[in-house]
Amino acid sequence: MTAELSMLIDVSKCMGCRGCQVACKQWNQHKAEKTRFTGTYQNPPQLSPETWTLIQFIEPVDYDDNPRWLFRKQQCLHCTDAVCAQVCPTGAINKLENGIVYINQGICAGCKACVETCPFHIPKFDHRSGTVRKCWLCLDRVKNGLKPACATACPTGAILFGSRAEMLRIARERQQILANQGFAPRIYGEKELGGQHAMYLLPENASIYGLPENPRKPTEKIIWRWLIGVIPGLAILAGIGSYLLKERSKSEAKTGGE
């Protein structure tokens, strides 16, 4: 049994240099994207088949009108309870023993079920390859004992990679330090969706960083969705049947039967 691996993104240490973005593009041989300035340094504006990680620039305004500048590295969080792998009808998406959620590009038929289901909107459909693509935590590097490209490039130690237990230990230490500094830090991904294999250390609320406070699988309680279709459907059919029966006996009474 391979040890569970994880990435730890210490948001409090990120300075928004975007070295990780560049490293990701270089290692995975992704093209640059032509974009337009939209009033933020966040660039490209969103994840794409060619951009698997992205520093999100967040500029909330404080109570005393001071703008703040927050950064979060967006990427696949490699959930244990990975809904993308569950809804994939071809079996192209697999959760590996080390925790990495991987899309096999040789199998993916491009149905986009995962794109429509991921609670973090991570997988993106690639019109050129006809498949869905996303971060694979540099599986090729990891298999050869290297860290993912982004973790290697990060100059501040905001992106750490190693065994999940080790990452959780470091996260708790940092959480304590930040708490002493007056923050209310949260380890995002420790328990969320069965535990993620890319965890965040967030100095404050998840929603400020554009993450759902309580991420849920859209397929939760799916049996109710089926029942909400099937039960009224049966009722309508019963109604149709009784109407037709009534009409039949009416006309039979008129004509004296067939």
């Binding site: 569950q86 809804v87 994939c88 009808p89 071809t90 079996g91 192209a92 697999n94 590996l96 991987y102 096999n104 199998i107 993916c108 038929a109 491009g110 149905c111 986009k112 079920a113 794109v115 429509e116 289901t117 991921c118 609670p119 909107h121 459909f125 690639d126 019109h127 390859s129 006809g130 498949t131 869905v132 859209p218 397929t219 799916i222 109710w224 969705r225 089926w226 909400i228 279709g229 099937v230 009224p232 459907g233 049966l234 309508i236 059919l237 109604g239 149709i240 049947g241 009784s242 109407y243 037709l244 029966l245 009409e247 039949r248 006309s251 067939e258």
Partner: protein, 296 residues
């Protein structure tokens, strides 16, 4: 040109898959309730039920990024990174799409068997019992195919689709469209053969459909009320789509046939033809607007 993750082909599939399955259910119920008395309804339904579902499957395959890999959803293969035991059938109970594919496959087979026995039952009385049996076996699959179109997009990360009433809206709308499709066929045949009585059940079906439409209308209104909190829902009903929604889907597709049905049905087969076409178009645009509007 904006790219939607799921575009027009999927919208058509959501409509036609539900339509074909609903036609099948209406035909079976008519056959069970009336036998030979309603055989115009049940035979017309049996004849047309499989084709929209097949069209939907073809469009779904076309919509794939890699249409040639459709078989990956049907058959398993040995995979380097996938430790799945069974080498044969690709079926995942957790994947709505996987469930839907198999439901559709089974439904298409059953609807063809039903077509054959329904045709046999016309001249041969002994085939009638087979028609009833195949119909009863097929109903659960047809109902699940209809529901599947709603569950597939309801269990998603999309705020418009992720609405608890979406499955019932889709199911009721499919049955309304299914009845309208049978009305359409019978009206066409009546117009082609004016001296025949082939369209004699049409007013009955229109009255019946108005009852289902009344239910659907309530569900659609509740669907909007449930979703009105989201900006996308307000965009749907207040934007360029809004005109199509209110005039096309709600007024022409639901309110007009509702009134006609409550007044005892259309007076001529030509009117029936026009009204049933409006119902069918309304059913399609309902799904189109929800699918595309949900992605804006």
């Amino acid at each position: 040109m904006e790219h939607y993750v799921w575009g027009a082909p999927v919208a058509i599939d959501l409509f036609t898959a539900g339509l074909g399955a609903a036609i099948f259910m209406v035909a079976v119920v008519a056959n069970l309730a009336g036998g030979r008395k309603y055989r115009r309804i049940s035979t017309a339904g049996a004849l047309i039920a499989p084709w929209p579902v097949i069209l939907g499957v073809v469009l779904l395959i076309i919509d794939l990024g890699r249409p040639g890999r459709f078989w990956e959803m049907i058959l398993k293969r040995a995979q380097e990174l996938n430790h799945l035991e069974s080498p044969f059938i690709m079926f995942k109970i957790g994947s709505t799409m996987s469930i839907g594919i198999w439901l559709v496959v089974v439904f298409i087979i059953l609807s063809f068997v039903y077509l054959i026995v329904a045709l046999l039952a016309y001249p041969f009385k002994w085939a009638e019992i087979f028609q009833k049996v195949v119909g009863v076996v097929g109903i659960p699959f047809a109902l699940l195919v209809t529901t599947y179109t709603g569950v597939l997009i309801a269990a998603s990360n999309n705020v418009i689709w992720n609405n608890w009433l979406l499955p019932v809206v889709f199911v009721s709308s499919a049955i309304v469209a299914g009845i309208a499709a049978i009305v359409f066929i019978l009206a066409v045949l009546q117009i082609c053969k004016p001296e025949s009585e082939i369209g004699s059940d049409v007013p009955k079906l229109e009255i019946l459909n108005s009852r289902v439409i009344a239910f659907q209308l309530i569900m659609v209104i509740l669907f909007i009320v449930f979703g009105i909190g989201s900006a996308s829902m307000r965009a749907i009903i207040g934007s360029a789509f809004g005109l199509l929604w209110w005039v096309g889907v709600i007024f022409l597709g639901l309110v007009v046939p509702l009134i006609i049905g409550f007044k005892g049905g259309a007076k001529s087969p030509h009117t029936s033809l026009v009204v049933s076409t409006m119902v069918l178009l309304g059913g399609f645009y309902l799904r189109y607007i929800i699918l595309i509007g949900g992605q804006i």
